[in-house]
Structure formats: structure tokens, C-alpha cells
């Protein structure tokens, strides 16, 4: 029976060795030349893979009719005019940027106020998610809770599945076009991601303190409170700051949905709807400045915390 199975497997293993190559069944060769001649023909597999990839690529391009942009010729003069307006950084530009332009809504319509609003929404949402995710992250750690961790892990994956933008569109029914909607949408999605990263961090720490507390009679809660949290807290703060980085990118989009009082996104939507490209340039500059500043600040703090 065993020999029969071996004989059945042999052609498949030979084909595998010929094309892919594998050293599990060790083969020895008399001299280097015959070993070189018996090398796996990996290029054939690569060719098949590449041909499949290109075939899929062409099929998909044909399905979505990607070449239809050629139907209408590109108007370079129009495009150039728009981009020139976009980069015209004159007095009006800076007046709108700092909120002195009454035509664009004054201080509350300016870029500076709106990027501060975006930062405020993101910060509050990340802070809420930072605290709510701690129990979920600990419950999702396989080294503490064993197979029970799957419950929390699957819950976190389900939370992550829903896009923030769709969640915000739904939450409008719950709390209207209000700042609270933006905060809940961002925080809800962040819990999933932060919880998963927490679980990864917990699985990497030293479990000596927790075992010591267990041997001296501490219950699970005491073990986690005194044996685990003090050593993972810097990592948790680092994860939260990293998430602030990512949330600030999503936070700029929330203004599109929540409209007024929800940050820079609403200005962007207004300006490309009405074709005010100079103001759109100011919005873009504001977004870039905000994200770069938060990036630098958070990477600096992360270095300080986890040094």
C-alpha cells in the first residue's frame, strides 16, 4: 500500500522538482555540471504566472473600457489654466488661508480654522478609541486567553470591515449632520485597528511579572493591571499616536459627508463644485501642512515614548 502511494506521488513530485525545485527530498549529484543541468526550471513557472497576470490585466482593462478617455481629446490649455490658478499664491490666497477674506466666510470659513477643527475631531476620536480598545485588545490576546481570544478577534475584524465613510453616511440617521457623527464614525473604525495592534503588542512582551503575580495568588484582573499594563503602556501610547497619523488622513474626508463644522473637507467640496481653484489650492496646502505637522509630532513622541 505504502509503495503504491509512493509510486502514485512520484510523477507529481518529479514535476514539482523539475519546475519549482525543492530540497525536501535530498538528491545528490556526481558533479557540479550534472547538478547544474538538473536545476529547477523556475523561469517556466514565472512565465506562466506573468502571462496569467497580463491576461487578467488586459481582460479587466477591456471590461472597464479604460481606453474611453481617448474619445474626448485632452484640453491641455484648460488643464494648464486650472493648475496655474491652483498655484497662484497671492494676497487673496493668504487672506483666505488665514481667514481674513469676508467673501469666503471670514475666520470660520478660512483654512486655518478648518484644519484645527479637523485636528480636534481626529484627536477626540482617537482618544476615545485609545481607551475603549484596551479591553478588546487584551481580550484578543491569544497568549492570555487562549482560544477564547477568537471571539474578540473576530469582533475586531468585523468592526474593521465597514468603511468609515459608509459608517458616517449611516450615522447621519443617528445624530444628524453634527460633529458627533464624525467622531463616532472615526472612533468606531479605529477601535478595530487599535485593538488588533494592541493584541500584537501584548503577544510580544515578557510574561514573567504576570506569572509571578499568579503564583502569589493574584486573579486575572490583578495580573493584567499590575503585571501587564505597566510594561505595555508605552507601546499602547505609540500605537495610539500611529493611529492619530492615519486618522488625520480620513478626518480630512469627513467634511465631505458631515458638511459644515466638520473640517476642511467641506471647503474642498464647495470649491471644486463651484470651480474656485485658487481656494482649492489653499485647502490642499492646509491639508498637507496639517498632515506633515501631525506626522512629525507623532513620530517624535513615538521615539520619546518607546526609546
Amino acid at each position: 500500500m505504502k509503495q503504491f502511494l509512493e509510486a502514485l506521488k512520484k510523477p507529481f513530485l518529479d514535476i514539482h522538482d523539475y519546475f519549482v525545485g525543492d530540497t525536501r527530498g535530498i538528491k545528490s549529484y556526481a558533479d557540479p555540471i550534472s547538478a547544474y543541468q538538473a536545476r529547477p526550471r523556475r523561469w517556466i513557472m514565472n512565465l506562466i504566472f506573468l502571462a496569467t497576470f497580463i491576461g487578467v490585466f488586459i481582460f479587466m482593462s477591456w471590461q472597464i473600457d479604460i481606453l474611453s478617455f481617448g474619445d474626448r481629446p485632452i484640453n491641455w490649455e484648460y488643464t494648464g489654466r486650472i493648475f496655474r490658478t491652483f498655484f497662484t499664491w497671492d494676497g487673496d490666497f493668504w487672506a483666505y488661508f488665514f481667514g481674513f477674506s469676508e467673501a469666503d466666510g471670514g475666520w470660520t470659513g478660512g483654512v486655518l480654522y478648518n484644519i484645527l477643527i479637523t485636528f480636534a475631531i481626529t484627536f477626540i476620536a482617537t482618544l476615545i478609541a485609545f481607551f475603549i480598545a484596551i479591553p478588546f485588545g487584551i481580550l484578543a490576546s491569544h497568549r492570555i486567553f487562549g482560544k477564547w481570544a477568537y471571539i474578540s478577534e473576530i469582533f475586531l475584524i468585523l468592526i474593521r470591515t465597514i468603511p468609515e465613510i459608509l459608517l458616517a453616511l449611516f450615522l447621519i440617521r443617528l445624530s444628524g449632520y453634527h460633529v458627533l457623527t464624525a467622531i463616532i464614525a472615526l472612533a468606531f473604525h479605529s477601535i478595530g485597528m487599535i485593538g488588533k495592534l494592541y493584541a500584537d503588542q501584548i503577544d510580544g512582551v515578557d510574561f514573567g511579572p504576570m506569572e509571578a503575580l499568579e503564583s502569589s495568588g493574584g486573579n486575572k484582573f490583578q495580573q493584567i493591571r499590575y503585571g501587564l499594563l505597566p510594561q505595555v503602556m508605552p507601546n499602547f501610547i505609540s500605537v495610539g499616536l500611529y493611529r492619530l497619523d492615519i486618522n488625520i488622513r480620513t478626518g480630512t474626508m469627513l467634511g465631505l459627508i458631515i458638511q459644515q463644522d466638520a473640517g476642511i473637507g467641506w471647503n474642498v467640496l464647495l470649491h471644486f463644485s463651484y470651480g474656485k481653484y485658487q481656494q482649492l489650492g489653499a485647502d490642499t496646502l492646509g491639508i498637507i501642512l496639517l498632515i506633515v505637522l501631525v506626522d512629525l509630532f507623532s513620530s517624535f513622541l513615538r521615539k520619546v515614548v518607546t526609546k
Binding site: L166, L180, T284
Partner: protein
Amino acid sequence: MNKAESSENKGFFYKWVHREVQVDLSDAQDGSDMRTITKKRPVLLISLGTLGIVVLIASIALLNWGARLNINFPAFGQAIANLFIPNPYRTGDIAGWWAYAWQQFSTSFLQLFYICFLGTAIGSVLSVPIYYLCARNTNRVKWLRTGVRVIFDIIRTLPIFLICFFFSQIFSIGNTINGVLTMAVFTISVKYLMMYQYVETIEMSPFEAIRAAGGRNGQCIMTAIHPYAKPMWISYFIYCLEINIRASVILSYVGFGGYIKILQNNIENNYYDYVGAMLLPLILFVMILQFVSNFLMRRGHK
């Protein structure tokens, strides 16, 4: 040593950073061997906490809490329930719900998926030279490395709807190539960073061996670095595909048609049975991709 003297010698902030604690070192714990020791306060934690509280208060003060708050739990619950309840005027019965789901999946959702896949594929292929130019161990020219990193750091800060807006000004609005190129740029900006950080952690001894045997730069990278980076490239490909499908929902606001525009219209018109039927493939795809990418990343890191 006199306590007062020591604290005066160490500057005015010594008392803020340190505190004095009375401890009993005797075995019987009866107070016979009391000592005074100085302990450091958790300065970093306290200062971070203070900073957080100050920023939180400033944020709460800045936001406009008064306007247009309309908390309505029944409406929200009804909206969620209506996702799965066929409406007699639209989907009719449960068979109609499934028929609409299949119709949207086979036409508009597949189109969105193709756009995301093409964008991810183009972006992933284009990001290969970029992350080898950005990594410290494969590119020794400092000015080139820094220059490429700064350019792509700036591109990374642009939100996806602005990238799509720029493309829609070049090619006219409504072309699928806007979406493909947007996804490609977005994928490059996500992927180059993760990949060059991974490439910098790769073991360099095979590279040096090939360098010592006389390999050129390209040969060293292709033989000694690329085989290690390839599995990570594939797992990040699936990760980026998942991110792209989730992020593409915003593109309906810049005149991008198809699935997401229909979805947005359905939500705004309260056609929640249509929305539920449309969301089913999206959620399923994202979930499957998430499980696959989690699995691959766990394997890749081991």
C-alpha cells in the same frame, strides 16, 4: 547626608521630578528600621497626560457642538433593519432582494473591483524601483534617497479625492482611467513606505557575498534582496487592494460614477433595501481580503 542640601544642589526642578518615600526595611514590619528613599516620578507619563488633557479641552472648546444635533435612535435602528427587509415598492420580496444584489454585483461592483485591482497592480509594480531607491541599504547615495523620500512623502499627504480631482481635470470627468490612476498613486504612496522599511530590516550578508564576488548593484538586489522582499510585496498587494476598495467609497463626491455613486444615491434617498443588497458583496470582499492579508502577514513576519 542632609536632605535639604542635596535637593538644593540639584536644581529647582529636582523636587518636581523626585519624591521621597518612607519604607520599612525590618523583617517584622514593626517600624524599627525606617528609611527615606527618593523615587522618580513618572514624568513622561504625567507630561503626556497633561498635554493630552490640554489638547482635549482645547479641541472640545473649538468644536461647534450646538448646531444641527438630531439624535434619533429609532430612525437609525429602522435604517439598519431596512437593510435586510425588502420594500414592496422596490425589491418586492426576498428573491427580488437577492436578484438586485446579484445584478449590482455582476455589473457595478465588479467594475469597481476591476478598477481597484488594476490601480493596485500598476501602483505595486511602479513602487518597486521607488522603494529600492528609498531604502538605506540598497541606495547609498544620500541626496537621491532623501529627494525621492521627500517627493513621495508629499504625495502621501494628499487625500484620495484630491488626487482623483487632479486626474479628472486632465482626463474629463467620468472616465474609468481617473479611478485607475488615482488608485495607482495611492497604492504607491502607501506601499513604498512599508516596503522600504521592510527592506531595511533584511539580512545583508547575502548581498555582501554577491558584492564580494563582483556583482553589480542590480545583480546584488535581484539575487540577495528581492527574493526576501517578494512575499512581503504580495501580502502588501492584498492589503492595499483591501484599503483601496474601502477608500474608493469617497470618490463619488468628485464625480466618479458606478457602484459608489449608486450606493450614495440609494443612501440619500433612503432606499435601504437596495443599500443592503449592494453592501453585501463589498463587506464580503473586504472581509475575505482582510482574513487573507492577516494570514499572509503573520506568515511573512515569522
